[in-house]
Symmetry: D2
Subunit: 396 residues, 4 copies
C-alpha cells in the first residue's frame, strides 16, 4: 500500500482490547525482586488487594483471586456451583459467552443457547420467554457477557435480571465482565448478579495472569451441590485467610499482587471506580462521535447497530469496501498505532478504549485512524477526530 | 537479641526456597509494555518457550504451560488422567506429596498413603511391597515429590520406578518437580516418569505465575478414561498450536512468556541444563560442607539424616537448643539475609540454593549464617564458610 | 476554570521542548546495574557511540562527549578556542544565543550582539554587513542558535555561512544545535560550520546529562591560541582514545553511554538520520497545519512570523486574549497533556515535536489542545487536528 | 588456568571501587519517564537533594551540584578560587591528588608536589615543614585526597589541618573525597576543610554523572580574586536558587536528582550518615581481618603498610608471586565476582567495600576470593572469610 518512510518511531500506541496499556507504576511493580514470602510488605499488600476487590464490582459478597486468565475464572465459577448433567443457558451475543459454554461442556454440563448474533445485544424479553418455558428449572445457570470483546456489544445486565425475575427462574445469573470490569458501570448487588468474573489485564490495568471471581450468597450456597469440584479452584480452602498459600491455592502471584496494589491506588487517586466509569463514558462518547463522522455508505460503520448497546471500552468497526487488513497494517507499520483485529469473523477492526487511557492517547488513536483513512483514499466528509476533540472539550 | 546498628543496608539476599532470585534480564522482561497479541515477537517467543520445555525435563513427550502456580499443575496432571473413585498412592516424605493428595481428594479420588516421615526419603522397597499388594491394580497413580521443599529430602526417582516395575504395577508415575526442576538432574524418559510437574519460580528463575505439566505417552493415553475433565486444564484444546488462545486456554501470560524466554536463554548461555545441574551440585556440596562444619550436639544438624538424600536445591537445618526464630530475625534485620522458615513443624530454617545463584551469593549466605552463629554465642568449632569456600575452590 | 472530573488518568503526554520523551529501550538501559568499567560491553559500547556521533552532524571532524548539559558544551566550545579579551559576535534571535554569550563573558570574552528579536530569524544580510565592518577581525567567533528553543525560530545556517564568506571574515562559526540536533537537517561540513554543540535530551532521546561538541579543522587549529583552557573541557587529553578515563576526563557516564547506544540503534533502525529528519518535517507540517487552522484575530497565532523560519522541533504559539496559563493548567490536570511554558517573556505556550514522536503522540497532543480550546470557549472555526491528520495521511 | 564449567550464573558481584553497586530504588528512579521541568515533584525533589548535601559532609557551608564526574568537581573547586600563576601544593599519596594537580596545570596554575609514595599516607609533619618554608605564601591551595582509590590509603585530614595551622599557612585546604564521601567519617567544618569534592557514584550510590563541591566561607571569599572563572562552573549564578536552570547552569540532571533523592532516603532510613560510617567501619574491619589471614610471604599482603591508614572503602592488595591477572579472570569468569584492577602500576587487585553493601555481599566477595586462592594452589593457612564472619558476628 505504501513505500513511504515510516513515521512510527515514537512510542507505539497499542489500542487492542486487552491486554490494555499498563501504567508505568504497575510495570515498575512487576520489575521488583522477589521478597520474603512470609513477612514484609507482600503480606499486607495481598490482604489490601483482596479487600478492595468487592468494592470494584459493587458487591458485599466475596471475591476470589485465581492465578490464571479470564477462562480460569469462568472455570472457578462453574466448578464451584454446578453438578454433572446440569444445564446452563448461554445468552449468545458476539462470541465469548458461547466459548464459556464450551468450557462447561468439557465437564459434562449440558449447554443450551439462546441464539443471538454478532451485531446486537441479548434481548431481555427473549430471555424471559426462554426461562419461563423451563418449568422444571433444569437450567441451573444463565451465562452472559456484560461486554463482548469481539462484537463490542454491551448487554443490559439489569434488564436481563428483571427478565429472569419476571420468569421467576432460580438459575444462577453469571456475568462475564472480562472486558467491562473497571470500565463500565457494574453494580453486582443492585443488579442481582450471582457471579461475576473478570481478568486483570483490561480495565484493571495489570499484565495478564490473574483473574477474579465475585460470588454472592446464592452462588456460595450452590457450592453444596457441586459434585465436580476442582481442588485448585475450590472456594472452601480459599476462604482460609490465615495465609496466602490457602487463599491462592499455593504460591501467591507476587508480581500481580504488587501490580494490583498499584493499579488500585491509581483508581483511588482518580476518585474511585465511579470516576473511572465516568472517564470511560466520556472517552467512549468521543470514539462514537468519531466513528459516526467517518461512517459512509460502503465504508466504515458501527458493528453494533443499536447505539444504546455500544460499549464504553471497545468499539468494533466494520469497514465495508475498505481493506481493513491494509488499514491495520498501515496504522501499525507506518504510523505506530496497533489496532485490534476483527475476530470471530467480523470484517473490520476494533478500537480499544479501556483502562489507562486519557485524551491525548485516545485522540492520537482516532487522529491516526483518520490519517489512515486519508491515505487509503477514503477521506471522510467530516473529521472524526475533530468531533471527538469537541466531545472531550465539552467534558474538560 | 540486639540493639546494635543494623548492617543490612545493601542488597537484601533472599535465600528462601522459592520464589528464588530472579535474574535482572527476567525482571526487565517483566517490565515491558504489552504488545500486539496477534503479531510481533510475542508469537514466536511463545512458540520457542514451548518447544524448549521438553528438553528441560529430558523427555520426548509433551509439555503444557498453565497460567497458575505449582498446585495448578498438580491439578492438570490428575484431572486429565483420573476418573471419579480412582485411587492414588501418595509416597509420603516431608509435606508436599501429601498436600497434592488432598487436592485430588476434592475431586473424589481416594487417597492411600505410604507413610513416611520428615527426615528421610521414600523407601523404594516399601513402594514395591505396597504395590505388589495391590493385585487388582486399584491404584491408578503414584504421587511423589522429587525434592520436598519442606524437609529438603530428595527422593530417588529412578529407584522408585524400578520398584514400580518390580511390582509390575501399571499405575501412572507422577512426580512433583516443583522444587527440583532446573536444579537437580531429572531424566523423565530414562527414569520412566509418566507425568512431571513444576512451577516457574524456583530453578526456572521467573516470578510465580505459570506452571508446567510434562506428559508422556502413557499419561496421554489415560486421558481417554478421565471423567472429571476441566475445561481450563484440558489437554485436548491445548494441543491446538495454531494460536496462543488455544494453547493457553485464553489470554496468554505475556510477562511470563517473555520472562521464560530470557531464563531459557540464560540456561543456554550457561551450557544447557546439564551445566545448570553441575553448578547446583557444586554449590550444594559447599552448603553441605558448611552445615557439616557447624553441626554440634545440641546445635545445628541436617534435617535429612541420610546424606545421599539431601537435595541440591534446598537444605533444611535443625537448630537444636538454638533459637532459630531469633537467628532468622537477626540475619534478616541486622545483616540483610532472609532465610527460609522451617515449615510443616520442622524446628529450624531452610537455606535455599536454587536457581540464579553463584559463589558470591552462596558464600555470602553461608558467611552471614556463620556470623549469626557467632553473634548467638554459638561460635562453631570449625568454620562452615571456610569449608564451603574450599569446596568452591576445588571446582573453579 | 473547571470542577469537572479529570480525564488525565492515562499515560501523561509530556510535550515540552526538552527533556523530550525517552524511548523505553533507553529508560531500560538507564536501569541496569553498574558493570566492570575496564572490560565487558561498556568498553566497545563507548567506542561505538563515539564513532557514531560525527555522522549525526554530518561531519568528518571530531566529536567530544562531555558529561554535563548543553551549557557545558557551550563552554567546551569557547574554552578550547578563545583567548582572554577576544570578541565574539552573538547573533540574537530568541534567547539562547544571548545566554551563550553571557557564559563566555564570565571568562572575560567581549560580547558584541547583532540585535534581533523574539519573532524572527537572524538576517544573513545584517550578519554580512556587521562582519564586513569588523575590518581588523577582532571578532573571533560568531555564535548562533540553529533553533531557538524559546522563540522556536530556525535560523538559516547555510545562508549565514554564505554571509560570513561574503564578508571574507575568518571568525569561527559556532552553532548551538541543542534544540535541533537529531530533528532538523544539519550538514555541518557542507554548511561550513566550525563548531556545533548539542545535548542528549532532545532529538537524541536520552535523559539529560551529557552534551556534545563537534569540532572541525579550523576549530581544532584555534586551540593553539586558547589561553583560558579548562582541564575538564580540554580537547588534548580527551583525544586519547586509549581508555575511557581520558576520553571522558574521568569516570565515564555509564548510564548515558548505554542510553546513547540504544538511541542510536533506534535511529539506525529508522533508516538513519535522514529518515529522522524526514519524520520531523512531516510531523512539523502537521503542527503548522493545526496552528494555522486555529489562528484567529485576538486568539492563537504563530510566534514566528515567517513560515520559512518555523522550526521542525518546537512551535511557540502566542495566545492573544486567551489565558494561556489556564489553558496549560487545564491540559495538564484535566486532560493529561503537559505543554511547554512560554519562556523569555513570550506570552503563550510551546508545543514540542522533537525526538521520539509519531503520529498517535502528535495527533493526541494537537487533539487535546483543540479540546482545551473548545473548553475555553474558543472553538476554532476550522479543526486543527483534522488538518494535521490530513497532513499525516498524505505522508503515510 | 581452568577449563572447568563456570559457576558464575547468578547475579554478578561487582566489587570495583566505583561505580559502586546501585540500590534497586535508585535504578528504578533512573528508569522513569521525563517529567514537566517547571512543575511537579522534580522541583521540590531538587531542592530537597540540595539541602541535604551540606549535612553529608558535616558543614554549614554551601554545596554545589555539577553535572559532570569527580574531575569536574576538581575543576569547579579551583576555577572559582585561583588566579593565573597561583601555586598549589599537591600532597602526593597514591595517584589522584597528583592527577588533580595536572588538571589545574592546564589553567596555568603552578603545581608543587610534596612527594609521597603508593604505600603510605601523607606525613603531616612534612606538610608543616613544607608550608613553613613558603614564607611568601605563594601556595594558594593545598590539594589532597582523603582516600586514594588507587593505593587505598586514607590520609589523616584532621592532622594535616593541624599541620597547616602549625605552619600558620593561609592556603585553601582542598580535599578530594571522591572515594570516601558517604563511607568514611568526614567532618568538614570541625576538621577545617575549605573545599571538599565528591562524585555520586561511590558512597552516594548513584550511577556516575553528577559531582559535588562543598565550599566553606574562606573558599567563597577566594572567589573575588579568581581570574580564570568558567561560566559553567561559576558559583555566582549557581547561587540563584530561584530556578533549577541557574542552580544547574542549564538543564537539570533529572535522573540523577531522582536517584540522589532515593539514595539520601536510604541513608536516612539507615539512621543518618553516622550509621553509614559505622557500617563501613565494621565491614572494613572484616576485610582487614580477611586479608590479614590470607597474608603470606611471597603471597598476598596489604598495599598500605600502616594499618591506621587503610581506608574503610577500598583495600588494595598486593599479590606477590601470585598471578593477579589470572586470579581476577578466574573470579570474574568462573565465579561471578568482578574485582578492581590494580591501577597506577600497583601489582595486585582492589577490593571495594563502599556504598550499598551488607554482610552477605561482602562475605560473598571475600569467600570467593578465598575460593580463588584455593583454586590457584595457594590455600591460605587461615581462612580469611572465617575471620571476616567472626568480625561481622561481633557486630550484629
Amino acid at each position: 500500500m505504501t513505500t513511504k518512510p515510516s513515521l512510527r518511531f515514537g512510542r507505539q500506541m497499542v489500542a487492542i482490547p486487552g491486554p490494555s496499556i499498563i501504567p508505568d507504576r504497575v510495570l515498575e511493580a512487576f520489575s521488583r525482586p522477589m521478597p520474603d514470602l512470609y513477612a514484609g510488605p507482600i503480606v499486607p499488600d495481598a490482604t489490601e488487594v483482596r479487600e478492595q476487590l468487592p468494592g470494584i464490582a459493587r458487591t458485599e459478597g466475596e471475591c476470589f483471586i485465581v492465578i490464571g486468565n479470564g477462562h480460569s475464572a469462568w472455570q472457578m465459577a462453574t466448578s464451584n456451583t454446578l453438578a454433572k448433567g446440569d444445564k446452563v443457558l448461554v445468552l449468545e451475543a458476539g462470541r465469548f459467552a458461547t466459548v464459556w459454554g464450551t468450557y462447561t461442556a468439557v465437564s459434562d454440563i449440558e449447554v443450551e443457547t439462546l441464539e443471538g448474533d454478532d451485531r446486537s445485544a441479548v434481548d431481555p424479553a427473549a430471555v424471559e420467554a426462554h426461562l419461563a418455558a423451563d418449568t422444571n428449572h433444569e437450567i441451573k445457570a444463565i451465562l452472559v457477557a456484560h461486554v463482548d470483546t469481539a462484537s463490542s456489544v454491551r448487554n443490559d445486565i439489569a434488564a436481563i435480571r428483571r427478565a429472569i425475575d419476571a420468569a421467576a427462574h432460580p438459575g444462577l445469573f453469571m456475568v462475564d465482565c472480562i472486558a467491562s470490569m473497571g470500565c463500565e458501570e457494574f453494580l453486582m448487588d443492585e443488579w442481582g448478579v450471582d457471579i461475576a468474573v473478570a481478568g486483570c489485564q483490561k480495565g484493571l490495568m495489570v499484565p495478564p495472569g490473574v483473574a477474579f471471581c465475585w460470588a454472592g450468597e446464592k452462588a456460595a450456597a450452590a457450592h453444596a451441590r457441586a459434585d465436580q469440584r476442582v481442588g485448585y479452584f475450590d472456594w472452601v480452602s480459599r476462604r482460609d485467610m490465615s495465609n496466602m498459600y490457602s487463599y491462592y491455592a499455593g504460591t501467591p502471584p507476587i508480581a500481580h499482587i504488587r501490580g494490583l496494589k498499584e493499579a488500585f491506588s491509581i483508581i483511588e487517586e482518580e476518585g474511585g471506580i465511579e470516576a473511572v466509569w465516568h472517564r470511560h463514558a466520556v472517552l467512549a462518547d468521543a470514539v462514537k462521535a468519531a466513528v459516526a463522522a467517518w461512517s459512509a455508505p460502503g465504508g466504515m460503520e458501527f458493528n453494533i447497530t443499536n447505539g444504546a448497546n455500544r460499549s464504553n471500552c471497545v468499539t468494533t468497526v466494520l469497514t465495508g469496501d475498505l481493506d481493513h487488513e491494509a488499514m491495520r497494517a498501515m496504522a501499525d507499520h507506518q504510523a505506530g498505532l496497533t489496532l485490534g483485529l476483527g475476530i470471530a469473523g467480523i470484517p473490520g477492526f476494533r478500537i480499544a478504549h479501556m483502562g489507562h487511557l486519557n485524551p491525548p492517547m485516545l485522540l492520537g488513536t482516532l487522529g491516526t485512524i483518520e490519517a489512515v483513512l486519508h491515505a487509503s483514499g477514503s477521506s471522510p466528509a467530516d473529521s472524526g477526530v475533530a468531533a471527538a476533540a469537541a466531545v472531550i472539550g465539552a467534558n474538560l
